[in-house]
Amino acid sequence: MKDVAIIGIGMLKWGELWEKSIRDLCVEAALNCIEDAGVDHIDSMAIGSMSSGLFTGQEHLASMIPDYLGQRYLPAVRVESACASGGLAVRNAFLEVASGMSEIALAVGVEKMTDVNGGMATYALATAADQDFEAFHGVTFPGLYAMLARAHMQHYGTTREQLAQVAVKNHANGTRNPNAQFPFAVTREQVINSVLVADPLTLLDCSPITDGAAAVLLAPVEVAHRLGRHPLTVITGIGHATDSIALVDRPDMLHLGAVAHAAQRALAMAGKTIQDVDFAEVHDCFTIAEIMVMEAMGVVPPGQGGPATLDGMTALDGSFPINPSGGLKSKGHPVGATGVAQLCEAVMQLRGTAGERQINNARTALTQNMGGSGGSSVVHIVEVQ
């Protein structure tokens, strides 16, 4: 297997982008990425999108996007694993390059979510849950995570303030990210007193509905050297795991098994432990999710995610910064794009080009992307070499 480098990243400003279609979003992110890498060709493409069909009526992105990118006849694939579709697209591109099937592979993540009304968006997102035995009863995604939050509070004593602090911290980071959808600061009181969505979670505990895309270009390390990429950012570990789609089928619903397995596999492949990681971009689709992900990956022991967050451990200047980009909370969560954008942030931090949110001397990054209520997860380790 070849060693694989990230030779280019492509982001754009996310938000409610009425004037941009799903094809516009993909092409803009891909062109930014190809320009960043300075390559004259690509050999294959993987597109991550959770539900372009329900959100826009458009499937078959694997045909449309290469064509509009000026790459007709390119081999392309669209992959889906709910909100982990983006991370999975990067994994797909990694496998192309590592195996030698492609020299230069593009991964694009996209979701165009605001063409439909709120009820339809809520329905589309809920298709990531068990349709016949969860969504059938009228549960929503905030509802699933709200049930996890209530159980976590009861079992571990996690507090309302600790949950709110995740949003406060991520929005504070997002004020330093020009691409963020909601780059404003919030207070704990504002989070706690915002409108209830699914008790105990409020609107400001939830990531938003967003239009957006992101792209990364992968190539063998020797090609990255030839292109003069410096500093060199290398994917040294990939972990991917799945779990039951229904919450009720997990032996301990407060343990995100797919996240734990994916993180262990990625760290083992990289020859690292979680203590070797300098910072992480994680899937904070809801405030409780970031806390549970910290615990599943072993950043803190089970039940300690809330107190550690309140103590500032995961702040930009803390001992283990999480979501310097602002996370899904502030940056936005176009579901299929999120996993790819996490890698864009990792590369910006490792290159030292993250501007006002730069983490000093960052050498090893971890990104964690998650589908549904934890039914799938993809973790990447990226290092400067």
Binding site: G118, G119, M120, T122, Y123, A126, D132, F133, E134, A135, F136, H137, G138, V139, T140, P142, G143, A146, M147, L148, R150, A151, Q154, V195, L196, V197, A198, D199, P200, L201, S244, A246, L247, V248, D249, M253
Partner: protein, 132 residues
């Protein structure tokens, strides 16, 4: 939800039909072709008693399409006495008085009416067991 899809699940929705592994005794709801515990493919039909303990719950304030006329409504996860978890709405109660650990029993209730197909979907919901 399409008519055939609802019709197919009627044994689960109306009668809480579950699967029991012939080899290790694991109960699954819905039943599965492969036991998640021991991998056995031999299983028998059983019916859940409908009694269990509330593990967690929420109150849905912003509902998905199709549930707009019902919000706010409570929904929870109940560990059934047979050991398997079941998610459903919690009804006929003061939702502000619900607590984790409450004893629940299932009742047969209307879940929703489907606008497009016109079918009225019934299934189990939970109500607190007040001992009457």
């Amino acid at each position: 939800m399409q008519v055939p899809k609802f019709w197919r699940e009627i044994p689960r929705y109306y009668r809480l039909e579950a699967g029991k592994c012939d080899q290790c005794g694991k109960i699954t709801f819905p039943s599965r072709l492969v036991c998640p515990e021991c991998g056995s493919r031999e299983h028998s039909k059983v019916h859940l008693s409908g009694r269990g303990t509330l593990k967690t719950f929420t109150i849905i304030r912003i509902p998905p399409d199709g549930f707009g006329d019902q919000a706010p409504y409570a929904i929870g996860i109940v560990q059934m006495d047979e050991g398997v978890g079941v998610m459903a709405q919690i009804t006929d109660c003061d939702v502000d008085a619900l607590s984790i650990g409450d004893t629940m029993i299932t009742k047969f209730r209307r879940v929703r009416e489907e606008g497009k197909t016109g079918i009225i979907m019934y299934a189990y919901k939970f109500v607190p067991d007040v001992g009457v």
